[in-house]
Every structure is written in C-alpha cells, then in structure tokens.
Amino acid sequence: MSDLLAARSQMAVSLAFHIVFAVIGIAMPLLMVVAERRWQRTRDPIYLDLAKRWARGTAILFAVGAVSGTVLSFELGLLWPRFMELAGPIIGMPFSLEGFAFFTEAIFLGIYLYGWEKVSPRAHLLAGVLVAVSGAASGIFVVIANAWMNTPTGFILVDGKFASIDPIAAMLNPAAFPQALHMTLAAYVATGFGVAGIHAFILLKNRTSTFNRHALAIGLLVGAPAAVLQPLAGDIAARHVARHQPVKLAAMEALFDTRVGAPLTLGGWPDTDRRTTKLGIKIPYGLSLLAFHDPRAEVKGLDIVPRDEWPNVPLVHLSFQVMVALGTYLALVGVWAGWLAWRKRDVTAQRRFLWAVAIATPCGFIAVEAGWMATELGRQPWVIVGVLKTADAVTPMPGLIVTFTVFTLLYCGLGAVVTWLLYRQIVRTAHA
C-alpha cells in the first residue's frame, strides 16, 4: 500500500466513523427535546423516560463524536499538510465558526445531561434546543468547508498560490447550499428512521408496548418529513453538480461521452477501458431531464477531461446508486407514514408498515456513507478541484500504513463498544 493510499484510507476510515456520530449528534437532540416537551405537556412519564434514555444515548455518541472530530481536525494537517497550508487561510473561517458552534453544543449538552435537577424545566428544555440548533450549525459549517473543495471560489490563482483571497466568497461557494441542505436533511432521516426502525422491530413482537409506540412516533416525526423532502434537496444538489462539477456527475451516472438527450443509467457496472456500462437499465433522456429539467439538454461526459483526471468511476457510480435507491425507499416509507398519520390509523396494527420501518433502520446511515463516498471519491484526483491534486497534498512522512492500521483497529473497537452500550442502554430495557 502506497503512503498516499494509506493516507486516503486513514482519512476515509476517520470520516466514515465520525460521520455516523456527527449525524446522530445533529438529530438525536431533536428527538430528546420533542420527548421532553411532550412530557412537560402531558406529564406522561413514558415521555420523560424516553427523553432520559435518548439523552444517555446522546451522551455516549457525543463523547465519541467529539474525540473522533478532534482526531479529524488534527488529521487535516497530519495527513494533508500541503492542503492545509494552502487552504487554511481561505476555509479557516467556517472551521472557526464550527469551533464556536461545537463549544455551544458541548456546554449546553453538559447542562442538559447533568442538570435535570439543577435548572428549571424551562431552562432545561431550552438547553436541549440549543444543543439541537448548535449541532446542526456545526454540521453545516463543516459541510461548507467541504463544499469549497468541490467548487473552490474566493481567490485568484497566481503561480499555484492563492492571491486576493476572500474567505466570505469562499464560504458562499456554489456547492455550499445544496450540500449543506442535503446533508442536514440526511442527518434527520438517518437518525429518525434509525430510532423508529428499532422500535418498529420491537413492536412487531409486542404490539401493546406504549413505550415503543411513543418512541416510534417521535422517530417518524423527525425522520419521515425529512425523508420526503430529501428527494427535492437531492434534485437541487444534482442540478448543481451537473453545472458545477460535471466530471463528478459523469462518474456518478457512468456517462462516458458528452451527449444531448443523455439517458439515465440505473445500476450496471461501468467498464472504464471500454467506456461502456454493462447490465445497466437505460432510461432515454432521463439524465438530461433530471440534471437540467430538459430532455434535450447536453450533459457533459467523462470525455471532457483526460483519463488520468477521472475519479474511480465504478465506485462512484455504485455509491451514488446505493444512495439514491435507499433514499427513494426511505422517501416512500415517509409518504406511507404520512398517509397513515393523516388517516389517523393505528400504525401498530399495520404489520407491513412496521416491517418497512424496521427494514429502514440502517438504510439512512448506509445512504449517508454512500453519498459521502460518491461526493468524496467523485472529487478525486483533486483535493481542491482544479487547484491541488490529492497526491501533492499528502505528508512526506513515510510508513502511514502503521497509523492507518492503528486508527482502523481503534475505531473498530470503539464502534463495537458503542454498539453494545447503546443496545443495553436503549434497546434491551425497552423490550420489558
């Protein structure tokens, strides 16, 4: 394994691990705040129990998210010093703001977790709201920094160095809004369905548990609307990518040649040597229609850049397809949930619906990982598109396979422990 590949793998493992905790850290506080608010209104002790259980879960996840996030802030430099040296002054702004948002989150989470009997009920609920808001804000700031790597703006390039930099313009880069919207919704979808799915599964065995019904309802309340909105956000993102990141779109859609009236390829395995996609289903004009809302529009193919500037087409295509498929499934389940709620049906009597929700448990998280892989792998070989190649950003230190192995083992171990603790904290007792 080359040092570059080891560095990329270590970054990938660190991000893949952290993103799960980040996503839950954004959405879980919302669930616990909803439960607490319902408790304050109804005095139904089950809601208080839920709020406390979810708070304990959040405590574990937030702690691991905080330390793995620290690792990432260092790894930016430890693995990619040339990137940070160049980009630091221009994308430091969202990172600084993220620092303060994270600070606010940590402070009020401390108050929420440990302050049940130390502050007034109103202040306690407000602390939870602040955790939810600052969690979402810190996620948005980090995504803005990532968006800049995809569509860098706010500078003039002079001899490979940035001149006349404008960090505000950099924050307002074209990818910032579509990416931040898509990612934030994804956090609510993944977490909402993750929680709802677990309780749906338990309800399949024990229909009468009020605890699990309440938990399912709050999980769906957070997850379902976001899942229904997500295809719209996805459309905004896709149309943005078509205009501003044509190579990435071409890789996601496995479109080798630029063409008018491009078809949409569902599934299939791209063969980069022969420049064709095997086994895929082609929907005529589909891609032009989706990407530009015009069946006759020209869609750029991979042929607009030399072969050595292609990302890994099969992986990007596969990740993208997985994300879209799972997102579609979740949106449909979301619509179903909305329909049942509108008709005021007792969801626990709908076994097929409960199964659909139970199956959705991991789907949002897999979609998040797949979507992140599509956007990150789709950017390669660039770390800053058009400015700096990933290979030129890596640290000169040799032997990175060692740190890659160490962090992989560390994160596997932590992941196993967290899963076990959450299972015991939330699920096992909920069976009772």
Partner: protein, 349 residues
C-alpha cells in the same frame, strides 16, 4: 514592541491554550488522581466519585479549547500548522490516541453497566490521562527546542532522523513531565474546593502539596536541560522582562503553597491558576517573535490580512456567545455547597 494583528491572534491562540491547560488540563489531572487513588477501598471509591462528578459535566466543553486553538492556528498561521503536523506527526498521533481513549473510556465508565466493567474503563481512562499530558508536553517542548524549525520540517531524510530524533530528547520529555505535574497540581487544588467533606479535602490538599513539589522538581529538570532549547532558554534568562516574570511566577507558587498549607482553598485555586498561566505566557514571551523557533516568525507565518481580520471577528462574535454560556455552565455545576450533579437513574421498567 507594538502589537500587530498577527501578534494579537497569536496571543489569542496562546490564551485558548491557556484555557485548555487550566480547564482540560485539570480534567487530565483528575484522571491521574483516579489512577493514584489511595487509602482504604471505600475512601478510594469516594475519591474517584468526587473526580468523576467534577469532570463529568464540563470535560467536553473544556476539551473544545484545544480544537479552537488548532483551528485558529491553521486559519491564521497555516505554514506553522503544516510544519508542526509534519515534524511532530508521531507524538501528535499518540496524543490523539490518548485523547480518544481518555474521553471515550470516561463516558463508557459513566454509562457502563456493572462494577467490574466500570473498573475496566476506569483504568483505561486513568492511564490515558497520565500518558496524554506527557505527550502534549513533549510536543510543546519539541517546538520550543526548534524541532519544527526549517531543518526539522521533515524534508526528506530517514524516518528516524526526520520524524523521531527531533523530539526524542531529554528536554521535550522534561517538559512532558512538567506538564503532567502542572495538570495534577491544578486538579488537586481544584478538588479541594469540590470536596464536600473534610477527609476528602485533606486527601486532595496533601496531593496538591505533593504535586506542587513535583512541579518544582520537573521545572528544575527542564531548566537544567534548557540548553537543548537554547533559544527559549536565553529568552527566559536574559530578556528585560525575565526577572519580573520569574518574580511573579515564584510569588504565585509561594502563595499557592501558603494557601494550601493554611487551608485557604479559594486563594489556592487563584494562585495555582495564576502560576500555570504565567508559566505558559513566559514560554510564549521567551520565543517571541518566533512562532516556531529558530526561524519561523509570527509575522512570516501569518495568513493574509483579510483572513486575520475575519478570524478576529469570528473570535469576537464567538466570545459573545461563548463566555455567557461558559459562565452559566460553571455557575450551575461549580457553585459551592451545591449537591453533586446527577444523571438520575432510569427507573426500572
């Protein structure tokens, strides 16, 4: 010397590091006292409970100071960040592993199951709390001794020469031990105020005095070896402000000892914090105007002016949100005579 914008931001980074040392440093120190808990088993358990209650609500917020310092460093002084990240890759990676293990083990212990499991995570937490400050100190000592200078910036060379030898020296390790002693000292002093009963107060008073002695011993060791960081060493001895600084630091140290001896714990807390702050700022002043001795100055490493202005703006706006929130957090949990914080147990279902 006039204060330029880069100087101001370097000062803010040092202030963030100071806050990290005074707050998170004490949390690490708490872990050390967890490791060194002594006496009959019930007494040991009470010491550990006190430490866990003191750290629980605040450690994550305290930890963010480090992230803030790192983010400001790569925003405002990117070449310095890149150099440190290359030259000190190995110790910083070890610090990160320590941070991950310390934080997660502490949380796993708090939310763990039975006593046996708690003990297991407690050990991981305590050992990580002992090792991480040493490595942090090694990184600081390495910077002060010029390891992240031009020739030490990992430009080629064998792995050992370029990435290990620059920091694997007595002086950085002396600074590491010194950092550990300082953190343990701060923790013990703060814990005298957190303790609700006499016995525990006395336990931590004695620990504070012991750690205070360790601070002196390790400081002396560092001074003995300071020829390895001749650049900073000269500043600490020869600069016009040196005498004033040493007098102030010594004064704070003596005050802390006197206050501990006479059981004036509030005064001890102020004096201990002042002592450690003065030491940190002494380091900063000694290497001024260099960010990374012996060759990279604050001015040379600074990002373009517009970045610095925006960073200053972000810090100012952030401070408006941050300080009232922090004050509220500490008021809720660190008010004297309040009951220990609790996460109420979930009633069995």
């Amino acid at each position: 010397m006039t204060l330029s914008l880069p100087d101001l931001l370097a000062g803010i980074i040092l202030a963030a590091l100071t806050a990290y040392v005074l707050l998170a440093g004490a949390d690490f120190g708490g872990g050390v006292w967890d490791l060194l808990a002594s006496g009959p088993p019930p007494r040991r358990a009470r010491q550990r409970d006190l430490i866990a209650h003191a750290i629980g609500p605040v450690w994550e917020a305290n930890h963010v100071w480090l992230i803030l310092a790192v983010v400001l460093l790569f925003t405002c002084f990117p070449p310095a960040f890149a150099r440190v990240a290359i030259a000190l890759h190995v110790p910083l990676t070890l610090v990160l592993i320590g941070i991950v293990l310390r934080g997660s083990a502490f949380t796993f212990r708090s939310y763990g199951g039975d006593r046996e499991e708690e003990k297991h995570w407690g050990q991981v937490f305590a050992v990580a709390s002992l090792v991480t400050p040493i490595l942090l100190g090694v990184a600081v000592g390495a910077v002060a001794s010029g390891a992240a200078g031009e020739q030490g910036a990992g430009s080629g060379g064998q792995f050992y020469e370029a990435y290990v030898a620059p920091w694997l020296k007595p002086f950085p390790f002396a600074v590491g031990l010194f950092a550990l002693a300082c953190f343990a000292f701060l923790a013990a002093v703060y814990l005298t105020l957190e303790a609700r009963d006499r016995d525990l107060q006395e336990d931590f008073r004695l620990r504070a005095i012991g750690a205070g002695v360790a601070v002196f011993v390790t400081a002396a060791l560092g001074l003995l070896l300071s020829h390895q960081a001749s650049f900073v060493g000269r500043g600490l001895v020869g600069a016009p402000w040196a005498v004033t600084l040493h007098v102030l630091t010594g004064g704070a140290a003596v005050t802390a000892f006197w206050a501990l001896w006479t059981r004036r714990y509030r005064a001890a807390r102020v004096a201990a914090a002042a002592q450690v702050t003065l030491i940190l700022w002494g380091w900063g002043l000694a290497q001024y105007p260099y960010l990374l001795p012996p060759d990279l100055t604050i001015a040379a490493a600074a990002a373009p002016r517009v970045t610095l202005q925006l960073a200053l703006g972000a810090v100012s706006v952030g401070a408006i949100v941050l300080f009232p929130s922090l004050y509220y957090l500490l008021r809720v949990f660190k008010r004297p005579s309040s009951a220990p914080p609790t996460t109420p147990p979930i009633p069995p279902r």
